[in-house]
């Protein structure tokens, strides 16, 4: 449990971050949260993404969800969209992988190649 003072401090830090960043061009992380995603553990994946972003004070990243995209066997699926870079889709993302994706891809701009799935190939 956090104290009021701690919450106030967090609020101030966040305000600082918001002032620093520009409104446009922020990265997006999309977690698949259809029935298949949820059953495969997408909720914990989502919470890990949020926690890692908070820990690293990456408050300019938008986290959102999508339904089933037809690749149920690859769930939990996480898509990373950084403006000006190709969209990357990751498969079977457990909370550990999610944290590493945040650090490597979002913060250091290095996609984690071994977990990337080729959507068109998978759809065949």
């Amino acid at each position: 449990m956090k104290s009021i003072e701690e919450l106030e401090r967090i609020k101030e830090e966040t305000l600082q971050e918001i002032r620093l960043r520009s409104a446009s061009g922020s990265p997006r992380i999309v977690v698949g949260m259809g029935t298949c995603g949820i059953a495969a553990g997408a909720r914990d994946t989502m919470l890990a993404v949020l926690d890692e972003l908070r820990k690293r004070k990456k408050l300019d990243v938008t986290v959102t969800e999508t339904g089933c995209i037809g690749l149920c066997s690859q769930e939990p699926i996480v898509t990373v969209e950084i403006p000006g870079e190709p969209e990357v889709v990751y498969g079977k993302v457990d909370p550990d992988k999610a944290r590493q994706i945040v650090v490597s891809h979002i913060i250091n701009h290095k996609p984690v190649e071994e977990w990337v799935i080729n959507v068109e190939e998978q759809m065949l």
Binding site: L15, L50, L59
Partner: protein, 189 residues
């Protein structure tokens, strides 16, 4: 789905995809009536009477991108295994209302699971949606409203992660003081 909070997340996603702006969730635990009732009611586009007849068929879906729709059938199955049922009604909010009943003490009733994680992860993807939640637990009644969380934060610091942090804090405190326990299943040893 290993617990009821995951089923709840699925029902919440259904509401969001039906275009709901407000979702009302009620969880009632009644020892007296041996009842655990989960109700999800929304102002989305609703479910027609035609669809209601087919909606529990796993091979029926409203989506044109896939061929199965397992969400509601899985919720109904878990309820039936626990001596309960699932029913679909019109919501007073204008959309659909899904009522799921379980026998509270049925040996096959799944535990509630992490309700806090369910709401936090749902609101991460749907921050503009208003969630009204009431939990009637063994120790009392707890009301939650995302609007009061937003009021707390104030217009100028509306950030997703701050909001979700407050949601987590508030829900954890309220639920546990009302007697919520994530791991309490139907099987009393």
């Amino acid at each position: 789905m290993v617990d009821l909070s995951l089923h709840l997340l699925d029902l919440l996603q259904n509401s969001a995809h039906a275009g709901a702006r407000t979702v009302k969730v009620d969880i009632l635990e009644s020892l007296e009536h041996d009842l655990l009732q989960v109700t999800v009611s929304d102002d989305g586009k609703g479910i027609s009477s035609d669809e209601r007849e087919r909606i529990l068929d796993p091979f029926y879906t409203s989506s044109d991108r896939k061929h199965v729709g397992l969400g509601l059938p899985l919720v109904a199955q878990a309820a039936e295994l626990a001596g309960g049922s699932l029913s679909i009604e019109d919501s007073e909010l204008g959309g659909a209302c899904v009522v799921v009943n379980y026998k509270l003490n049925h040996p096959d009733r799944q535990p509630l699971g992490d309700i806090v994680a369910t709401f936090v992860s749902f609101l991460a993807g749907n921050p503009d949606l208003r969630v009204l939640f009431t939990y009637c637990g063994p120790n009392g009644v707890y009301h939650f409203d995302t609007n009061s969380i937003w009021d707390d934060i104030g217009e100028d610091s509306r950030n997703q992660l701050i909001f979700l942090g407050k949601v987590e804090e508030e829900l954890t405190q309220g639920l546990y003081s009302a007697g919520y326990r994530p791991d309490r299943g139907g099987l009393v040893l």
